[in-house]
Symmetry: C3
Subunit: 421 residues, 3 copies
């Protein structure tokens, strides 16, 4: 439970808010590289942390991320012409490069040096794992990119995309690190009876012992979550997930399996992007894994990346399916829609003064505390450690069956598994 004031502190990220300032110390995925498919292609609107921005790929292939509004008279640069290494406002012809310099100003006399005095807000950009990343904080504090494993991986070992969620970012993070919901929300009605024949470890044990016991550790990058369930008589099954500053999740996986990471970037206080990465550090993704990913992409509307099943159509809930097949009545191959139905329906910013958290919400409570802690420390002048130490992001999630007397972080194989080698 949070007071309304605490909730506002945690959920608001526009310029000038404490959490917005904290966020701006980190690099953010802001759109997909595929949205700017080639040099001089059409510019794209995007909104990140409540800032209206225009992304474009210039003639040299470099990506720019600049203010939506031309500094002259504030016409939108969405209508700009992307030409010869710059984006030209078509109102009076002012042209800007990816650095925000004004490189042409045909509306003013040649002898005027007004051009050299004008700049447009521009954020440095990088590309990695199919995403365009930007740094939106104070230039003098710009850190290196985080050492996320998937940012440096062969193309056949990862896939990525994004989905729009129609709620504040925090409730989407909460859903990601909440392993307990899987055995209801994402499960068939007969999941309990089938758990003995499950082909994965997670499938076998998660349904038999739904209310996992949570053990949460603070890390330099955020938190490490061990969700423990009874496995066999002498063993526990541990699902190990992570929350990394400021909004990255890594969810449990089978040993040597492919991992999944969510990067839940605020669009504004009432919407967020869910950037989604599946990667395997050991081998190329399998055909089945790629097909699942393609299916997910096909469930999104073009351009907007909003699920075709969304709140306007009640996520296409099928009450007969809900009666006979699964808990939600939303198809099992559309887990995104199942999640979104929950997190969107809480209201755009959930009223956390009304919630009732149980023992299985411990990871959520700790994630909130760490997030708020980061913003509060910055208010006191303490720069976030994770932002300036990119190596703390070189981690993974995992899963393991361990003897009952071994704590998950103390096991050497787990240790080997949850850090990038």
């Amino acid at each position: 439970m949070l007071t309304k004031e605490e909730n506002r502190y945690m959920t608001e990220t526009s310029p000038g808010t404490p959490m917005g300032d904290f966020m701006r110390r980190f690099w953010h995925p802001v759109l997909l590289s595929e949205e700017l498919p080639e040099p001089d292609c059409p510019p794209k609107r995007t909104k990140i942390l409540s800032e209206e921005l225009i992304a474009f790929r210039d003639t040299n292939g470099n990506v720019g991320l600049i203010d939506n509004y031309c500094p002259h008279r504030r016409a939108s640069l969405f209508f700009g012409r992307n030409e010869e290494a710059g984006l030209r406002c078509v109102y009076h012809g002012w042209k800007f490069n990816v650095n925000g310099d004004c490189v042409d100003m045909p509306s003013e006399p040649a002898e005027s040096n007004f051009k050299d005095k004008v700049r447009i807000k521009a954020y440095p950009c990088r590309e990695g794992a199919g995403m365009v990343w930007a740094y939106m904080g104070p230039p003098e504090l710009q850190p290196d990119m985080p050492k996320l494993e998937y940012l440096d991986m062969p193309e056949d070992q990862y896939v990525s995309t994004k989905v729009m969620y129609e709620s504040n970012y925090v409730q989407v993070i909460e859903g990601e690190i909440d392993t307990v919901h899987a055995s209801i929300l994402h499960s068939n009605l007969d999941s309990l009876s089938k758990s003995d024949t499950a082909t994965t470890i997670g499938g076998r044990y998660s349904y038999r012992d739904r209310p996992a016991r949570f053990f949460v550790e603070d890390t330099d990058s955020g938190i490490l979550i061990g969700a423990r369930r009874n496995a066999e008589e002498d063993s526990y099954y541990w699902r190990i997930s992570r929350f990394l500053y400021p909004y990255i999740t890594m969810i449990p996986r089978e040993p040597r399996g492919s991992a999944r990471s969510g990067l839940i970037v605020p669009i504004d206080d009432e919407n967020c992007w869910f950037f989604w990465v599946r990667w395997n550090p050991f081998r190329p993704l399998e055909e089945e894994e790629v097909r699942t990913y393609e299916l997910m992409k096909a469930s999104l509307a073009p351009v907007t990346y909003l699920g075709q099943a969304n709140k306007r159509n009640d996520y296409m809930i099928d009450r007969e399916m809900q009666r006979n097949v699964n808990y939600t009545g939303i198809p099992q191959n559309n887990a995104r829609a199942q999640d979104a139905a929950m997190t969107d329906s809480m209201g755009v910013i959930v009223d956390r003064s009304q919630e009732h958290l149980g023992t299985t919400d411990m990871a959520i409570i700790r994630m909130r505390r760490r997030l708020v802690q980061g913003a509060r420390e910055l208010e006191e002048g303490i720069e976030p450690y994770a932002a300036t130490h990119p190596e703390v992001f070189a981690v993974r999630s995992g899963g393991a069956v361990l003897p009952r007397d071994v704590y998950f972080t103390e096991d050497p194989s787990v240790q080997a598994d949850i850090f990038v080698q």
Copy 2:
């Protein structure tokens, strides 16, 4: 005329407002029984007095009306699974019965007693006259259901449905007790010339003497309205209607004719439900009466119960019809749309500081006064008499032609007619 402050006092009914508190002392129709057609059917969203609620019919056929939001993490119970005598939130599986008890909590350890500490807001429900009724006030003050005649009537003697109005509830009540508008809004252009050949008493006299003279009496249940018009040389025609707390109307009828009652329940401050009942205490409804009702139902959009002719399409006004046939240009068989065009177009909450009331608005003035009086008395600690005395609702409206020297309430036949025997 009301000041803006008085108007706000009268029109606002969300939790914590004086009028909202007053309303909550009464039973409210909240949806139609047909919207929950069978045990374990899909739950329905509804909003009453600005509260977002979920209605469901459980396995035993009982109706529950509970908070839209699961008390755990606030996912909407609209997506809940209606199963085995309860509605289960599909996020983590918490399940609630119609009383609001949490009867299952699979996300928490079995030994936890958290389940017993959690309840969801739930309002007691009853069914009557095709409607689901709920009591949303303090449990210790829950009264019996009002003794409205149509709540205890054989099925062939009544019909009921509901229509959504896109305005505050008070202006819809005002339209209902305003008999004078009928002879313009609902009439053909040639109504005056045809009034002599009318087959009903109301038709004969209402058009010849449009500006009725109003006589209004306070009653325990609200007000009793006598609208007097000249009939023959030595007689008056009286139309007798009622306003019953907190928003029920009964409109005039022919002697022994079928009556009509409106129950105008606030959805929120800017929308309301018009629950509509036609009943005949003496005989089954006639085929023609049922056909009129079916026609009205057919004019509504499915699921939303909003008129297909609504403010988005200017109530399908036909200017040629308005020129040649009737005053409105909206078909005569769609009196609901004619009314809605008027009350919706005043703005969602009409600015009563700008109105100019005449002598024929006397019933409206008195209704407002009584409504506000009820709320003010409750603020002073006086519980509403009508809420706790269900028998005061055992009344009817009526109509009569009386000698000119008899006041309508003093006539024995009228007396016999306007109270349930």
Copy 3:
């Protein structure tokens, strides 16, 4: 650059605002005569200066402009019946003539004199140049109509229409008096290379010397703008435009050519009407000119007069066209859409605290100053001179090539050209 407070002062025109009071000293075009095609035709909704109004043409052909809301109980008179020299509210039959008198009140007793005590807000109307004009200020200050040349012109010498813009009126005025944008926003990519073969003077010189030098003069009616460009070695090309109180523009034209005037009337603070007049004081319009006008009308949606290319569809921008043909990617025959893409995309009320004005924005700066000056003087009790001196509107815009040592206002031929003879 304006502070937020200055910006608000200039852009807000609802009743009671300083700029709203200033505006109300002038006559306003409020709709097109074609929208009320014949006596007793359907009434039309309109909104001017944030006032919701109903326009109707009565049986005698006179136009009335009255409050949207019936003074009785505030039903909308849009649903009124236009009959026998008045508009009748169909709720209770109150009927009003074009002067706002209540001429019938069937809902009240005949002996009541309530009818004579009730009036509806009604503004005096005139027709001219295909537009209905209204005066919405204090009756005792009502001036004569402005002596705009096109208000008194044979029918074959002018055309007029209107377009809805989805922004505050001031940014549309700014676009109209901003001659510099034409050579980018409205031009083909090859316009510089083709400027030598242009058939008009404007075409020849405006593209060769884009950054015009501005000379602005205050006039009794507003401002006179001379935009000077290099022509031949010993000559300058002057484009002469005007801003007339409170929102009228006249844009440059070729000598003896047809002129264009914009009347940019606030609908509310976030939308405006662009009334558009093309006229030629010397001869009938040519077939080509009329065709251009018909094309423009065909680009608008019926009833709403909103461009079919609008912000919902990004003005139908075609990125291939933008790459190969013109700067905007919006067809060259739809300059309105090109303009609207700019002025709408600034936001409904542009944040002028963020702009960076150059030397070519001098006319814009002066226009704002004069507009604000008018409102400020009125606050000090000084009635606007232009409103009460209709003859100051008997002016034109123009264009001329003059020797380099002649200032544009001093040339006799220019003098003769820019005033109505």
